[in-house]
Structures are given as C-alpha cells and as structure tokens.
C-alpha cells in the first residue's frame, strides 16, 4: 500500500471517542423519549401527581440523596482515574477505577433497597410505571457502566494502558459522566419538580 492510501488525518478527536459521543447522543434521545412520556403523563394527569394513594410520599432521605452524592463522587473518582493514566500512573488508574466501580455498585444496591421501601409497584398507576421505568433504565445504564469499568479494571491489571494509549478509559469516562448527568436530571425531576 502506498502512503497516500493509508495516510489518515491523524489530528483531532480520536475515532473511538467520536463513536462514544455519537452513541451518547443517541442515548440522550432515548432518555429524552422516556422523559417525554413522564412529562406528558404529568401534564395530563387528573388529580394529584405522585405515588399512588396509600403509598408514602417520596423522600430524599434516607436513601435517594446519599446515593445521589455517591454517584456524583464517582464521577470525580472516574476523572481521577483518567488523570492518573494521562500521567502514566497505572497504579493510580487501578486504584481510582476500583473506587469508581465500588461507588457504582453502592448506588445500585442503594437504589434496589429504596425500591423495597416505596410501598408501590410498577403496575400501580401511571406515576408508578413512570417512576420504575425511568429509574430502572437509568439503573440499567449504571449497571452497563459498572460492567465497562470492571473490564477496564481487568485490562488495567494486565497493564494494557499507558499515558499515550488509554482511549478506552477516556471513552468509558464519557459514558460514566453521561449516566451521572442523567441521574441529576432524573433526581431533580422526581424529587423536586412535583
């Protein structure tokens, strides 16, 4: 192959990150669709919008606020992991990735516990359906992020990343921050915009 057939434009954003950003933009539309169902139902709901009759009001304590803080902190620890590998510190990467995975798992565990305390199920009216669908699909995305982070931990343990070659870490961090931003929107919608 002669040079001009292989000479790609090397500058600019790395190809995997472009792909991840495009994927995230489609995820934005996915959650946009789910949020649209929520606001549509809320706008046309006759009666008081909220958990079905008989169930307690939603409270941000004891669980939702702490797990929100956990998820926000996990974005910071994810960024520490990226900064570590940009400096070339593989041990720093492994440390901060492990912390991030742990926080992600804590969030999921907290959310599952929260589900048991709500006093209503997915089939108890349109609010309940919206609540479980939105939080459930966000949780599924957190789970996807945890899987991605776990793969990163395994790859980091084999020393696959370096200061120059760690685009997978950057890509997963984009995704993790995105999942965090969705939760901020969701937390605000469910607990404050009532």
């Amino acid at each position: 192959m002669s040079a001009d057939a292989t000479a790609r434009r090397q500058g600019g954003f790395p190809i995997p990150l472009v792909g991840m950003l495009l994927f995230i933009s489609s995820e934005v539309m996915f959650f946009g669709g789910l949020f649209a169902t929520y606001f549509s139902a809320r706008a046309s709901f006759a009666g008081e919008w909220g958990p079905p009759p008989g169930a307690p009001e939603l409270e941000i304590l004891p669980v939702p606020l702490p797990i929100t803080i956990i998820l926000l902190v996990s974005s910071l620890t994810m960024h520490q992991a990226v900064r570590a590998i940009r400096r070339g510190s593989n041990s720093g990467l492994r440390l901060w990735l492990t912390v991030t995975v742990t926080l992600g798992v804590l969030f999921l565990a907290g959310q599952l516990y929260d589900y048991t305390t709500l006093g209503f199920g997915v089939s108890d009216g349109v609010y309940a359906t919206e609540f479980f669908t939105l939080t459930g699909f966000h949780g599924a995305h957190v789970f996807g992020g945890v899987v991605g982070l776990t793969i990163l931990v395994a790859r980091a343990a084999q020393g696959q990343f370096s200061a120059r070659n760690h685009v997978a870490v950057e890509a997963v961090s984009f995704y993790w921050h995105f999942v965090d931003v969705v939760w901020i929107a969701l937390f605000t919608t469910l607990y404050f915009l009532r």
Binding site: M1, S2, D4, A5, T6, A7, R8, R9, G12, F13, I15, V18, G19, L22, F23, S25, S26, E27, M29, F30, F31, G32, G33, L34, A36, T37, S40, A41, S44, F45, A46, G47, G121, V122, S123, G125, V126, Y127, T129, E130, T133, F137
Partner: protein
Amino acid sequence: MATTTLAPGSTTYSRSWVIDWLTTVDHKKIGVLYIVNSFVFFFLAGLLALVIRTELAVPGLQFVDESTFNQAFTMHGTIMIFLFIVPIFSGFGNYIVPLMIGAPDMAFPRINALSFWMLPLGGALMMSGYLVGGAAAGGWTGYNPLTQEQFAPGDGTDLWIMGLAVIGTASILGSVNFVTTIFKMRAPGMTLFRMPVFVWTVLVTQALILLATPVITAALIALFIDRNYGGSFFDPSVGGDPVLWQHLFWFFGHPEVYIVILPSMGVVSEILPVFSRKPLFGYRAFVWATIAIGLLSWSVWAHHMFTTGAVFLPFFTFMTALIAVPTGVKMFNWLATLWRGSLMFTTAMLFALGFVSMFLIGGISGVMLASAPVDFHLQDTYFVVGHIHYVVFGGATMGVFAASYYWFPKMSGRKLNEVLGWAHFWVLFVGFNLAFFPMHGLGIQGMPRRIADYAADAGWTEMNLIATVGAFLIAASMLPFVLNVVTTLLNGEQVGEDPWEGNTLEWATTSPPPPYNFDRLPPVRSERPVFDLRHRTDGAGHAAGDATASEAHP
C-alpha cells in the same frame, strides 16, 4: 508499489468460504450480506403483499380470514420498512461509502459486523410470531390500544416489539459507525464539500437514524412494560395516554420517511450525472437541500395525527409544506442535470428516471395530505396507502434497483444483462402504476385501509382488481431480475474497473476491490476525482499506474 505484495497474501490463507462470510469484518462483504439479507426479506414481505392483494381482488373473504389478513399487512409493512428498505441502503452504504471517500474500511469493523448480524436475529424474532399462534396484527404503526394485551393477547406482538428493539439497536450501532467513518476516515483532499452526494445523503440519513431510533426504542419499551408488567403508559383508565404512542412513534416515524428516501435520492444523484455525461447541476444546492430536509424532518411528525385533535394543525401543515421546498430543489437539480445531457438509457438510468417520475407523484400526494382539511377526508384511506407506496416503492425501491444495476459491476466484476434489466424495469413500472395508482381513487371514494373485505356494491371492485393484477405484475418482474443476477454471476460480461465512466472514487479501484480497497488514490481536487483523472491533459500518468494495479489483482 512494491508494498502491494503485502496485502494479497493476507487473504490467501485457507479458510472455508462459509466461515469467511460468517466472521468477516470487511465492509464490502458486510455490505453484500446486508443487501442479500434485505432482498430475502423483500421477497418474504412481497409474498405477504400478494396475500393482501389476492384477498382484496374481489369482494368477499375467499383466501384468508381477517386475522391472517391483519397479520399479513402488519408484517408486510414492518418487514418492508425495517428489514428491507432501511438496511439495504445500509448495505449499499457499507459497500460504497468507504470506497467513495477513499477509506480502507469502516471506522469500527467489528461493530459493523455486529450491527449486521442483529438484523436476521431481529427478523427471525419478529417472524417467529407465526410459529406461536399468530404474528403481530396491530399494523406496522402499532397504534394503541390495538397492540395492548386485551386486544392482542398472543406472543406475536411481544415478539414484534423485541424484534424491532433488536433491529433498532442494530441501526443505532450502524449509524454511529457511518457518521464516525464519514467524519474521520476521508482520504486526503476529500473535504466535506467534495464528498459524493450519495455520501452526503448517507451522512444525513444516519444522523437521523442515530437520533430518531432511540425514541421508538423508548416507546417500544413502554409498550412492552404495559403489556407484560401491568404498566399504564398508554392506558387512559389510570392516567396514561394512547395518543402519546402516536407522538413517540411518529417522532421517529417521520424522520424515518427521510431515512428511507434520502439514500435513494443520493443514488439517483450519482447515476443521473454519469448517464447524462454532465456534472450534477447545483451540487451545493443539493447538499444544503439534504441538510434542510434532515433538520425539517423533526418538525413534521404530527401531520400523521391531524385527526386526533391533539395537535396544532396550522404549524404542522406549514412545516410539512415547507419540507416540500428542499425536495423541490432536488427535483430541479435532477431535471437540470438531464437537460441537454448525452443521455444513455442503461437499466440503472431507467430506474433512476423511474425514481424521479414516481417520487414526484408521491411527493405531490404528500403535499395534498399535508393540508389538514384534505387529510381529514383521506386519513386512513387507501389514498394514504397509494401515497406511501409511491414514495417508498416508486421512490426508494426504484433507487434500490438503480443502485443494484449501477454498482453490481463494482461488486462482482460483471455487468448485469441489459435486456433482462429492460424487461425487469418495464414490467415493474407498468405493474407498479397499475397496483398503486388506483389506490388514490379508492381512497378518495372512501375505501379504508386495513380491511380484508368490502361490499360488492361499493363500486371499489374494478380498481381493486386492477391493483391486484398490478401486484402480480410486480411479482413477475422479479423473475427477470433474479434470473439476471444468477446468470450474470455465473457467466456475465466481465468488466474493468470503470464500466460506466463514473465520477467517484469507487471506480478508481478494481472490480471487485481488493480487501484494502485502494493501491493508490487519485488526487481529490473536486467532487469528481475519477472524472478529473480520466480527462487530465498534462500526461502525468496516474491512469497508467492504476492500470498496473488492476492487473495485479484481477
């Protein structure tokens, strides 16, 4: 050129061709897989169309019962849209786009293979409804409450939802791949405004897929939760809203219309200049019109919902009429390209001209439906069925066949027979108009869509019979096509790298191209690099270099 010995060796180790095709990550092979898979589903859904037309040929229920009929039109529509017309352009795009922009492959070859293999899986899931007591029967639009548990109790609808979700995920992954490829993998000199118009249309199409498909996925998930877990998204008795489904469906579904038609417009805009021996008239106007259609397509979805009473009619009427403007710009591009050209009526050209004429009719009936007062009369009648088929069959599918005849020599090294091609086109063209033009009249007379039977004294019998004859003519036109493909592959006329004297980079490599696509790329200084190469007068010998390359890989 010494390094060219590297690549052929990499493909010559022995491996069964079955394994080779099942595991390939080469964009050209994946493109062929997409195209073959799409044609298989095209023929399956075509058989379902014949079931529909046979039942409607004369009044009375002679051939199938209502339930089978409902499944037939549902699966016909769903398969044609999601498993034929969208993926087949992903197939042509897969094969041609990297070649056109001078890239060695797509940006993510393995994701490319994944997005293809999810399609037959999704299709099988959806079709397996027939094995478990009946496929989905709520129409391809899946309106609520027709698809709710109490009206569609079987597993067929759940399988339909799952199949569509799998296909949607495949489309999203594919669109990530296409957009990344087009933005990041272009050859030196291939600026955005030197990209072939087909690449532009694929870019806008894939951006629409990327952003529209997740919305239908969300809607499908909501429907699945309603059906299986007691959810109430679309159940008005507990605060849900069945019209919400229509909003979500058409928020995807109207961009989908442009997802279907834009690549076909791109194909036609490649073919008309080549066989008119002229450049495309108004390249930039065409590109901006494509972008404008892509943007406007987000603001017209509710024109499918005029009669719900839940949408603001003037806005959506205005936006729908507005989107006809960039479409009209393109019509002008095409006609001005043909004007005083040295026209060559190859089969590809015939289909391209078929596209322009039939899509014009579909576009005009679309503007008629955009008018809310007219739409109130014609909603859910056969007029709409006629309209969609002029757009999706007379438009997009004509483009599929144009692309098939145009790029077959590039993909196989052999040229399809022009006599059989001529027969294919004319039988199809006559059959198409017999089948679908009468539907406009039926619709104006009030015949509703999606009915299995009609009264003998309704005055609809003659036009229905004509439509049925047309449908069987369309089916007959596929025989010369299939015969043509088979005989050409076995024993067709062999051609070199550029049988049509094309303009774009795919004609600057061998037919079929080697796995790495190009030995060397011609310089890209305009949107017609191969034309520039052919008509160079400074004698710098690029053509000679390419001839050597083609001898190295026959």
